[in-house]
């Protein structure tokens, strides 16, 4: 996970996510446009949460008091572990409200029974960091419960007690509901019950690191997958490119009968541009015009014909982290052997009449190529490879997405 793209922070639903680009970044969770990339640790957008919430301290809806007090007792927040017998709330683990200011490792869990759509919902407040955020960031977490419950006075000193006041709880719930204080609904309790509904309100069952239903969990998992196996092709390094054998076409060169697979032109001696007589052969022996192959190698270090990898390419399912330089790759990531060693898996596609699409490539097109065994295979009816990388090289996606 070390080299994944930075996450973005949505100021509207307070989620950390990888935004959708279309072409402006919008929140993957709530589709809001007020999103910010978290690149500068000194300017962490999540820090904005606290002031914002304080500003609304007095603006919770009338009628909240009763609800909050009820909930307060319901959660058994001050009563120490193991709750009060009759309460259905329980502390799921040591919800340590550590004195050092670190977020609680455990969390509160409470369950609501008999919502309108029936069934039971479990809510987990606080709890361990589930998004695998680097540990040094955890202290700037989005409002873990324990942190939130420790209001500070104007001097920044933590209050002595651990009173959870009505307004505080209101803020927390509002934030949890994913509406932000300015968009709160008239009936917070109703909202609470509606969280899990499939109509998928703005909250989408998710707030920050916390999820409320299976759908939201799936959402997070697929985001994680996208982040971890960003299967963009790895460009060949200049060093690799420089070492490729170049050949100036000469009379009677065997190359003269062949085509460059990129421009589909035959290699010729008489060309307007003398550069068109420089032929680069990849280690797999496939020849190309220098001017044709170099731009490709700079976006993907593979042979266009057989996908021989000049540099370690990400495996499908991103066999974990980043594809390193060829020398550092894991054994999985070594350049694959030239295609002549591939078992013949080409699928006959009768109507293909374009001879230049070699069977080598059709192997890959139809999924015969070097993919790793599937790890996520939720729906494998007709797919030969069940999972894969997400995108390719930079020109394909708008800015801000890449390094």
């Amino acid at each position: 996970m070390s080299s994944r793209d930075p996450l973005w922070f949505c100021h509207e639903c307070h989620t950390e996510m990888t935004p959708l680009m279309m072409p402006d970044p919008i929140c993957a969770n709530c589709q809001g446009s007020f999103v910010e990339k978290m690149e500068d640790p000194n300017d962490d957008p999540r820090q904005f949460q606290r002031p914002v919430h304080r500003a609304y301290e007095d603006e919770y809806p009338s009628g909240m008091d009763n609800f909050l007090h009820g909930l307060h007792g319901f959660l058994g927040i001050r009563q120490g572990p193991a709750g009060r017998g009759s309460s259905s709330a329980q502390r799921s683990s040591a919800a340590s409200r550590s004195s050092g200011g670190a977020p609680a490792r455990g969390g509160f869990r409470f369950e609501l029974n008999g919502g309108p759509s029936a069934g039971q919902r479990a809510f987990i407040l606080g709890g361990p960091n589930t998004l695998g955020r680097p540990s040094e960031q955890v202290n700037h977490n989005v409002l873990p419960m324990s942190e939130f419950l420790r209001p500070r006075d104007d001097l920044g000193q933590p209050h002595n007690g651990s009173d959870i006041t009505g307004p505080l709880m209101a803020q927390y719930l509002m934030a949890m509901l994913g509406h932000g204080p300015s968009m709160r609904g008239p009936d917070p309790f109703g909202e609470l019950f509606n969280l899990g509904s499939t109509e998928g309100g703005d909250g989408g069952g998710r707030w920050g690191d916390y999820v409320f239903n299976q759908e939201a969990l799936d959402h997070i998992i697929s985001q994680l997958m996208e982040n971890s196996n960003s299967g963009r092709p790895v460009p060949a390094t200049d060093e690799i490119i420089e070492k490729l054998p170049k050949e100036l076409l000469e009379d009677k060169s065997p190359l003269l009968e062949k085509d460059c697979a990129v421009c589909k032109e035959t290699f010729k001696l008489e060309t307007e541009d003398p550069d068109d007589q420089v032929v680069v052969s990849l280690p797999c022996k496939h020849p190309f015009h220098q001017g044709c192959i170099l731009p490709w190698l700079k976006s993907s270090g593979t042979c266009p014909v057989c996908r021989y990898a000049l540099i370690a390419q990400p495996q499908y399912h991103g066999s974990a982290a980043s594809p390193g330089p060829a020398s550092g790759g894991s054994s999985n990531n070594r350049p694959q052997s030239p295609p002549s060693n591939n078992p013949s898996r080409s699928r006959s596609s009768g109507s293909r009449r374009e001879g230049s699409i070699g069977s080598d490539l059709s192997n890959t097109v139809f999924g015969g190529g070097g993919s790793s065994p599937s790890r996520v295979d939720r729906n494998s009816r007709s797919n030969r490879r069940s999972s894969g990388p997400t995108s390719r090289s930079p020109p394909f996606f708008p800015g801000g997405w890449h390094e």
Binding site: M225, G231, V262, N379, G388, F396
Partner: protein, 155 residues
Amino acid sequence: MASISSRRLRKELTEITTQGCPVGIKLLNADNFETWLFSIEVLGETLYQGEVFKLMFRFDSQYPISSPAVQFVVDNEFQAPIHPHVYSNGHICASILGNEWSPVLSVSAVCVTLQSMLASCKVKERPQGNDQYVRYAPDNPKKTRFHYDGKHHRV
């Protein structure tokens, strides 16, 4: 000097006009080197028997280094095929149009591949999350970051 992209497209176009398109594919329009339109149908016994679709290719100046943007046209006359890889706005989730594009592929190779994708379809259904995707989809499908996993089958 003509760009690599237009040289290559001119060559492809010449081949298409002189040798004809693959079976079931017809060139509708290729007036420039930016957008080409084809009609595509799947012959034989498939779920799409008798249906005709319209394919749009959009090329940028980096073609064939960068893949063409390919989608089914949805308008008054045409609909996108109902297929687990094809969103109702015509966007196609196919790895060869994304991270498995290779400059060796060509317009007619893409057509044939898509034909084959349709021909092998077992169940006519939209991809998971179609409505959500379509609601926020960019105009150009290349801006979508498809991930070709179990949900979006690899083509």
